[in-house]
C-alpha cells in the first residue's frame, strides 16, 4: 500500500470537493435547462439546436471543477508529493472555492437557460438576449476558478 502524507490526502479531498460540488451544480442546472429545452422542442422542432446551446451552457462549471481537481491531483497525489497538512488545507480551500461557486453558478445558469429557452420558443428574436442573460451567472464560477488557481499558485502547490 502506498503511503500518502496527510497533506496530500487533504488535497485529494480538495479535488473531490472541486469536481463534486461543481458537478452537482452543473448537473442540476443542466437538468433544468434540458427539461425546458425538451418542452420547447416538443412544441417546435426547430428549437433543437438552440435548446442544445442553452442546455450546454451550465456544463462549464463542471469543466472548471474538473480542471481544478485535475491540477490538484497532478501536483500532489499523482506527483507523489508529500504535502504538509497546512498546504492540504489550502488545497481544500481551492477545491471549495470552485466547488461551491460552481454549485450556485450552475444552478442559477440552468434556471436562466430554461427561462431563456421558454422565451426563445415564444419569440425567436429573444435568442441573443437569452444567451446574454444566461451567460451572466457564469461570472461566479469564474471567480471561484480564479481564486482556486491563485490559492494553488501562491501557496506553492502549483509550480512550487
Amino acid at each position: 500500500m502506498v503511503e500518502v502524507a496527510l497533506g496530500t490526502a487533504l488535497a485529494a479531498i480538495g479535488a473531490g470537493v472541486a469536481i463534486g460540488f461543481a458537478g452537482l451544480g452543473s448537473g442540476i442546472g443542466q437538468g433544468i435547462a434540458a427539461a425546458g429545452s425538451v418542452g420547447a422542442v416538443a412544441e417546435d422542432e426547430e428549437m433543437f439546436a438552440r435548446g442544445i446551446i442553452f442546455t450546454a451552457l451550465p456544463e462549464t462549471q463542471a469543466i472548471y471543477g474538473f480542471l481544478i481537481a485535475i491540477l490538484l491531483m497532478v501536483f500532489t497525489v499523482m506527483a507523489g508529493k508529500a504535502l504538509s497538512p497546512a498546504l492540504g488545507l489550502v488545497a481544500i480551500g481551492a477545491g471549495a472555492a470552485i466547488g461551491f461557486a460552481g454549485l450556485g453558478s450552475g444552478m442559477g445558469q440552468g434556471i436562466a437557460a430554461s427561462s431563456s429557452v421558454g422565451s426563445v420558443v415564444e419569440d425567436p428574436d429573444m435568442f441573443a438576449r437569452g444567451i446574454i442573460f444566461t451567460a451572466l451567472p457564469e461570472t461566479q464560477a469564474i471567480y471561484g476558478f480564479l481564486i482556486a488557481i491563485l490559492l494553488m499558485v501562491f501557496a506553492g502547490i502549483m509550480g512550487g
Binding site: L10, I13, S114
Partner: protein, 385 residues
C-alpha cells in the same frame, strides 16, 4: 511554523493534529451539506414546471398578435378567415375536420387537455377537473340542440371531443329528447344535476336554471380541489379559480337584480363560498334592492373599483354587458398578474390559458361578424375583447 501549529492544536485540547484536522473536515462536511440543502430546495419547486412551462410558452408565442387579428378582420368572408387559419398548424388540423366554431373550441379544449396532462402533480387534480368544463359545455349544447329539434348530425357539430364524457358522446348526440340525454348520462356526476333541473325546465321551458346548476357544479368543485393549497403554486391557482368563482357569482347577482329577481330565486345557483366575497357577503348582495345596491355593497373589496367603473356605462346603456366585460377583464388581469409574479411556477400556464381563451373568444366574434350581414371590419374590431 509546523511546531507552532502543533502547539496551538495541543493547547486547544486536541491530542494530535490529525484529530484536529478530522474535526475541521467534519465541520466542512456539515457546512457543505447545509449549503447543498439550502441551495437545492428552491430548485425543487422550480424543476417540475420547467418542461410544462416551456411547452406552454411555445404555444403562447403562437397566439395571434394585434396585427394578425387586423388581417383576419380584413378578410372578405368566412372562407377567407378559414384560409387564413389554415396557415397555422394548430388550427389547420381542425379547420377541415369540423365546422369553424367547433374547430376553434376544439383547439382551445386541446390546450386545456395538454395542460392537464403535463402539469406537475400538485396542480393536476385542479386542471383535470377544469377539463369538465368541456363536458358541461357539451351537455349544454346537446340539451339546447335537443330542445331546438336538431338532428344527431347537427348536434354532433356542436360538441367538442374533449372531457370525460367522450365515450358517451355518441349516445348523447343520438338522444331524441332531454330524458334520453339523462339516460345516456346515467352513472355520471351530472345525472343528479340534470334530474333536479328537468322539472323546472318542463314547467318553465327555460334552460337557464340547468345551465346555472352545471356551472355551479364545475366552479364549486374546482375550488374544492385546491381548498388547502400545498404551496405557492397551488395558492396562486386557487386565487385564479377564486376570481372566476367571484365573477360567476357577481354576474348571477347582477343579472338577477336587472331582472328584478329576489334572494330565494337566485340562492340555489350561487357558489356557496366565494373566494374574496364570502357567504355572508353574498347574502347581503343578493338582498340588495338593485344593481347600484350590489355595487355599493362591494365597498372594501377589489370588485368595488372594478364595477364602479362599469356602473357609469350601465347607467348610460342599461346593458348588463358592461359589468360582465369588467368582471371577465378582472379575471384575465388576475391571470396576467399571476403569470408575471410566478414565472417559474404555475404562472405561465394560467397566463396562457387566459390568453388562449381571449384569442378564441375574439376569433368567434370575428367569425360571427363575417357570417352576419352588415358588420364592417371597424365594427368587428370594436367588438373584440
Amino acid at each position: 511554523m509546523v511546531e507552532d501549529i502543533a502547539t496551538l492544536v495541543t493547547s486547544l485540547g486536541f491530542p494530535s493534529i490529525e484529530s484536529f484536522l478530522g474535526l475541521i473536515i467534519l465541520v466542512l462536511l456539515i457546512i457543505g451539506a447545509i449549503v447543498v440543502i439550502v441551495t437545492i430546495r428552491p430548485v425543487q419547486n422550480i424543476f417540475p414546471y420547467t418542461y410544462p412551462n416551456a411547452r406552454v410558452r411555445g404555444r403562447a408565442g403562437k397566439i395571434f398578435t394585434e396585427k394578425q387579428f387586423s388581417e383576419i378582420i380584413e378578410a372578405g368572408n368566412i372562407d377567407e378567415v378559414k384560409n387564413y387559419l389554415r396557415g397555422f398548424p394548430d388550427y389547420a388540423k381542425y379547420i377541415d375536420q369540423y365546422p369553424l366554431e367547433k374547430a376553434l373550441d376544439t383547439q382551445l379544449a386541446e390546450n386545456y387537455d395538454l395542460i392537464a396532462r403535463i402539469t406537475p402533480a400538485n396542480s393536476r387534480d385542479a386542471f383535470k377537473f377544469l377539463l369538465k368544463k368541456w363536458d358541461i359545455r357539451n351537455i349544454k349544447s346537446i340539451v339546447i340542440a335537443k330542445k331546438a329539434g336538431l338532428s344527431a348530425e347537427e348536434t354532433l357539430d356542436l360538441v367538442v371531443p374533449f372531457g370525460d364524457l367522450t365515450a358517451k358522446l355518441d349516445a348523447l348526440v343520438d338522444a331524441n329528447d332531454i330524458n334520453e340525454v339523462l339516460s345516456a348520462l346515467e352513472g355520471t356526476e351530472y345525472t343528479s344535476i340534470i334530474e333536479d333541473a328537468i322539472p323546472v325546465y318542463e314547467e318553465t321551458g327555460m334552460l337557464l336554471p340547468m345551465e346555472a346548476s352545471l356551472d355551479k357544479y364545475l366552479l364549486e368543485n374546482l375550488l374544492r380541489t385546491i381548498t388547502t393549497p400545498e404551496d405557492d403554486n397551488t395558492a396562486l391557482l386557487k386565487s385564479y379559480v377564486g376570481s372566476m368563482v367571484d365573477a360567476a357569482n357577481l354576474k348571477i347577482i347582477l343579472r338577477a337584480k336587472v331582472d328584478g329577481l329576489k334572494f330565494e330565486d337566485i340562492d340555489p345557483y350561487m357558489i356557496s363560498d366565494g373566494y374574496q366575497i364570502r357567504e355572508w357577503k353574498l347574502k347581503d348582495l343578493m338582498e340588495a334592492e338593485d344593481v347600484s345596491g350590489v355595487v355599493s355593497g362591494l365597498e372594501g373589496t377589489e370588485y368595488a373599483q372594478v364595477l364602479s367603473e362599469a356602473m357609469s356605462q350601465y347607467t348610460e346603456t342599461g346593458s348588463i354587458g358592461a359589468f360582465e366585460t369588467a368582471l371577465d377583464k378582472n379575471v384575465s388581469e388576475t391571470a396576467k398578474r399571476i403569470s408575471l409574479k410566478n414565472q417559474f411556477g404555475i404562472g405561465p400556464m394560467i397566463g396562457f390559458l387566459s390568453k388562449k381563451e381571449k384569442e378564441i373568444k375574439n376569433l368567434k366574434i370575428i367569425v360571427r361578424g363575417k357570417r352576419e350581414e352588415g358588420f364592417t371590419p371597424a365594427m368587428i374590431k370594436e367588438m373584440l375583447i
